[in-house]
Symmetry: C2
Subunit: 212 residues, 2 copies
Amino acid sequence: MAISDRKLREKEDLKKRILEAAKVLFLEKGFEATSMRNIAERVEFSPTTLYLYYKDKNDIVYALHQEGFKLLAQQFRIISNVEHPYERLKTMGRIYLQFAEENPDFYELMFVRQGPILHVQKHNRDDWEEGSRTYNVLYETVIECQNEGYFKDLLPHNVSLIVWSTLHGMCTLHMHMRLDCVKFEDDYEVDPEKSRPEYIYETFMAFLERLK
Amino acid sequence: MAISDRKLREKEDLKKRILEAAKVLFLEKGFEATSMRNIAERVEFSPTTLYLYYKDKNDIVYALHQEGFKLLAQQFRIISNVEHPYERLKTMGRIYLQFAEENPDFYELMFVRQGPILHVQKHNRDDWEEGSRTYNVLYETVIECQNEGYFKDLLPHNVSLIVWSTLHGMCTLHMHMRLDCVKFEDDYEVDPEKSRPEYIYETFMAFLERLK
DNA sequence: CAAATATACTTAACACTGTTAATAAATCAA
DNA sequence: TTGATTTATTAACAGTGTTAAGTATATTTG
């Protein structure tokens, strides 16, 4: 059965090549701008061939969305080195911001676009595996923070969701250019190395600091 | 010149009717799903006629985006009744959340979609009038809060942006169905009247409360 | 070995999309 | 009434996601 094995391997290979081509094009021109025909051209197959490997365009988008979560999970792996839970929480936030800054297209796919979510809903399971696993990293950290006396008398889910919301809000307002109208340069010296969200994040962390 | 006046009035009228038709369709099926031909059919004109009144589709989207801001500004008018600045800040947040909940399509247009922003950029002025005016309502309130002793030693812009980011993050994570995987019903009794963001908002306000 | 079947892929087509160029009809000014 | 201007239309372009039908090639079966 070595032959059919090779066949299967080649099939899997093409599936990956399609995804890779899609990724390159998505990152290059955004998804709105990349069509099935574009992807097909890049892998040098006819457009309809893609449908033999992916159900539809959303199926490709969803595969990319999953890659994004793997990437983020990889970045998060660093935090296990941070002993103190509160410091760990702060580090997580910084990593999250950095990820959004460096991979805006992935971020959009993972947390904004409805395409991937529609795919999840269509394929019956209502739990969004990648999402909830990532969320749990935050949730566990918050609980550990509470064990150390932080965020007293607050529900851990609420605290987690506030932290996530703030980070997500900062990232998306920035990405979607809704902060451009707020010129707060006159407030203080601007360090060109730091992004707008990073500035706000510092203040946010100062906020949390006072709660101890 | 009464005749040419009437002509001008009729022209303006059709322009408004197009916008109205677009609004109805957008709210009914979302923008992705409504085409120029759909709008044209509804006003009973040929598709190309729309281009005599609006430069392109983004032009229509932008007009709607502006309507959204008028609507929000209208809701915000209530807050002038609230004496105490911190109470006013809290009220603003609640109004913002409510607006997003009741007008998700407008919200998307105003704070997420890039269509309207592209329109602003194309037409040269880099200041986003509606946006910065709305932001300033928040900013002024934060400054007044600081005059009363709140948010000590923090830059008013940073505080404003954190509040906005948190609200925006809550709204969009909810709207884009990214909170569905977080089942936190077991934490406490769920009041079906209150939305997820409202719950989190209460905790967020409790956060701020502790800073005084 | 030859016929039947299954696999992998392509061509052609459908029903859309936003948008533009060319054209016709209506209204206005001379 | 003629000519110019405004207003609306038809036809078309280049593109989209997606499906049905057809075509080679390779594999299995009689």
